[in-house]
Amino acid sequence: MSLSPDSPIADEKQRLQALILGVWLFLITLAMVFATTIVGYVVVRLQLVSANEWKPEGAPGLPWELFVSTLLLLASSGSTHAARSAVCRGASGRKAGGWMALTCALAAGFLFFQALAWSDLIRQELTFGDSLYAWLFFVLTGLHALHVLCGLPPLGIVTGRAFRGAYGPEPTSHAGLTFFAMYWHFLDAVWLVLYLVLLWGSRPG
């Protein structure tokens, strides 16, 4: 299958470079989305802390599940990278597919622990509409989880294709895997920043 058959760029390598630049620009756009929400978080927290209204009395801190999910997401970034290196070395479809299957499992684990963290907080009666402390936590983690969810269909497709040995060592022959890896590493990086911000924000003042 040739790379984006509608492209007016004749040379396949240049076509790939154009696509990679396009993905980078799209990731910059998404980075601006997350940056805006994080700036909003920081500003609101600083203002509320100085008014002594940030963390409501008895509100829970950051749930322990988030630490586990952070490790899982980091690991999934690693396994994606391993799959891509395997493909670049010309390894068999089983090997690359195996790494990608591990990525699927880790991604599912990440989402599972995010959900667990949410239900934990809800059980401790931290509700969305009660305080901005809660509101910001749910909106920011929810926005990130939404982007992870959007990555699942491509993840499934890439994993299937990796198992079938559809990816070759040439950069133009595993472009789909490259784009997925860029997106996934990006989500990983965003989560790390977000996690640190939430960690800082979970302190009362």
């Binding site: 984006s4 154009a18 396009g22 620009l25 756009t29 989305v33 929400t37 509101w135």
Partner: protein
């Protein structure tokens, strides 16, 4: 079907462009039927569809403006209720900003011209281009839907906490619509950046690009960086409205001024999303229609990038009265002044280009000269608003309304209309009626100044913007302003008439009616489906010494033998 290889043809020195040699295919008739348009990947058709959408939106937004102006012709109730008036001025603003001016030049003219100027067959990602057009349509549908659900009266700025508490039912649909329109704009920008980076033809270095491309490129960078901030901010407002809690809600300890920061972080650069492409058009119009090499090419190119960078650092000048700290106010005020430098660089270089040029006073040139005049007024009055102490007096008055109409309409939209006339023969292969064009321009230009110059006086006398009713001493100004808007409307209706009439009865356009040198003038009018069969070689696109009039073509031709860079003998020597 007989097709003629346009690029090879023009390789032959001094050969007339297509015409006598028989039928050349044309993108308008390449395939037939509505489906072949709605799902086309051809950037030219997508550009034409955007153009149609933008012009229809312009008609609607313009009618809203006329209703608002008519209501204001006399104090007290004139034709509509106060609450209806609030809906109409809000809709006028939202439609004009998000559906007309922002997509006008990049998405319609840019889509059409950019790949041809690069000698390419299409933009880098044709399918993404189509997708962003479909997003635009969906966004427009949501804006219409919000009308049916009761409209919205927040002003186009959606300031909180009013936008999260107002009773009007159309707020959430329009927020969603603008969110979608934002992504349409982002994908168009992304496509253009990649296209300019990766698809310039051999010989076209960065500093050989037509200045329109520099402008579109700088614009696209702003679209990519600023638009996502608006998109997520509007989503947060939507969530806040739905759940009655959010970070902009002061009742829960949130900060409505934070909304203003986010909003203007996008919306100030958005002013440059509107004006930069118009400046690019003017650079090309001035050079082509005065048949003179553009003066100070590099300065104009760099100033586009400089404006794009500055645009991210001045948003706070919209918030001098919001309780922002005095230090921040001073910083924002100072940086705002610095934007005057790259803007003035452009004006001086355009004037220097005109000097000793052989100026054709045709419709596109008149719009270009009109732009220079109106942009100068718009820009200079911006200094009063950027100055802290005068702004406190002028803030939220008609002075602001007049200022931004001089920039957004008198400059951005006038630039768009000028570019539309410039490329109209290329897009549709027909010449419009030049006499009517000049009459219409005169009506628009006079009507515009009567409408909005009056508003500078209104504003400095203290008339607040957006008010339904006013003191009797303001009546004469409002009356004159409303009459001016009718004159302007007459000019635009006349423009619509002769442009549409040209499609049916206009003279056939030659490949190069104006004597342009950039690549779009080297393919037929209208261009063939593929633009160019082989990638053409380019020279200096502002060197008009090799362009000469040809009677048999009834247009200009490029005498390739006179240019050492593109003459057939040396074209392949690879220097």
């Amino acid at each position: 079907m007989t097709t003629i290889d346009t690029a090879n043809k023009s390789d032959i020195a001094d050969m007339p462009a297509a015409g006598a040699q028989g039928p050349v295919d044309n993108y308008l008739t390449w395939t037939k039927g509505a489906i072949s348009w709605i799902f086309t990947l051809d950037h030219k058709r997508i550009g034409v569809m955007y153009l149609a959408g933008v012009l229809i939106s312009f008609l609607i937004g313009g009618l809203f403006a006329l209703i608002v102006r008519t209501e204001l012709i006399a104090p007290g109730a004139t034709i509509i209720e106060p609450s209806t008036y609030n809906l109409f001025f809000t809709l006028h603003g939202a439609v004009m900003v998000f559906l007309v001016i922002i997509p006008s030049i990049p998405a319609s003219l840019g889509n059409f011209v950019l790949p041809i100027m690069l000698g390419a067959k299409d933009v880098a990602f044709p399918r993404l281009n189509l997708f962003s057009f479909h997003l635009w349509i969906i966004g427009a549908i949501f804006v219409v839907l919000s009308l049916l659900l009761g409209g919205f009266d927040t002003g186009w700025t959606f300031y909180t906490p009013y936008s999260t508490t107002t009773e009007t039912g159309g707020v959430v649909p329009v927020l969603f619509g603008v969110f979608i329109l934002g992504f349409s704009s982002i994908f168009t920008g992304l496509n253009f950046v990649v296209t300019v980076h990766k698809m310039r033809p051999p010989g076209m270095t960065w500093f050989r690009m037509p200045l329109f491309l520099w402008a579109i490129y700088s614009t696209a960078l702003i679209q990519i960086l600023a638009t996502p901030v608006l998109a997520i901010t509007l989503m947060l407002v939507g969530i806040e409205r739905a759940f009655q809690i959010g970070i902009f809600d002061p009742a829960m300890g949130g900060d409505p001024v934070l909304f203003q920061h986010f909003f203007w972080f996008y919306s100030h650069p958005a002013v440059y999303i509107m004006i930069l492409p118009a400046m690019g058009i003017i650079s090309d119009l001035i050079a082509v229609h005065s048949h003179r090499h553009i003066f100070g090419y590099r300065f104009i190119a760099y100033s586009s990038v400089a404006i794009a960078i500055f645009s991210f650092l001045v948003w706070g000048h919209h918030m001098f009265t919001s309780g922002q700290s005095a230090l921040l106010n001073t910083i924002f005020s100072a940086i705002t002044f610095s934007v005057a430098v790259p803007s003035a660089i452009k004006i001086f270089n355009w004037l220097a280009t005109l000097y000793k040029g052989s100026i054709a006073l045709n419709t596109p040139m008149l719009y270009a000269l009109g732009f220079i005049f109106l942009f100068t007024i718009g820009g200079l009055t911006g200094l009063y608003l950027g100055t802290l102490n005068t702004d406190v007096h002028l803030h939220d008055t008609y002075f602001v309304v007049a200022h931004f109409h001089y920039v957004m309409m008198g400059s951005a939209l006038i630039g768009f209309i000028g570019g539309l006339h410039h490329w109209w023969p290329k897009m549709f292969g027909r010449m419009y009626n030049e006499k009517l064009g000049i009459i219409a321009f005169t009506l628009v230009f006079i009507g515009f100044n009567v409408t909005f110059f009056t508003q500078f006086m209104l504003g400095s006398k203290g008339m607040p913007r957006r008010y339904y009713d006013y003191q009797p001493e303001f009546e004469i100004y409002h009356f004159i302003s409303t009459i001016g808007s009718y004159v302007m409307a007459a000019g635009f209706f006349l423009t619509a008439y002769y442009l549409l009439a040209s499609l049916f009865s206009g003279k056939k356009a030659p490949a190069n009616p104006w004597g342009g040198r950039s690549l779009e003038w080297q393919c037929t009018s209208p261009p063939p489906h593929d633009n160019f069969k082989t990638t053409p070689t380019v020279g200096d696109c502002y060197d008009f010494s090799v362009v000469r009039w040809s009677d048999e073509e009834d247009g200009y031709v490029i005498d390739r033998s006179k240019d050492p860079e593109i003459a057939p003998s040396s074209a392949h020597s690879g220097h």
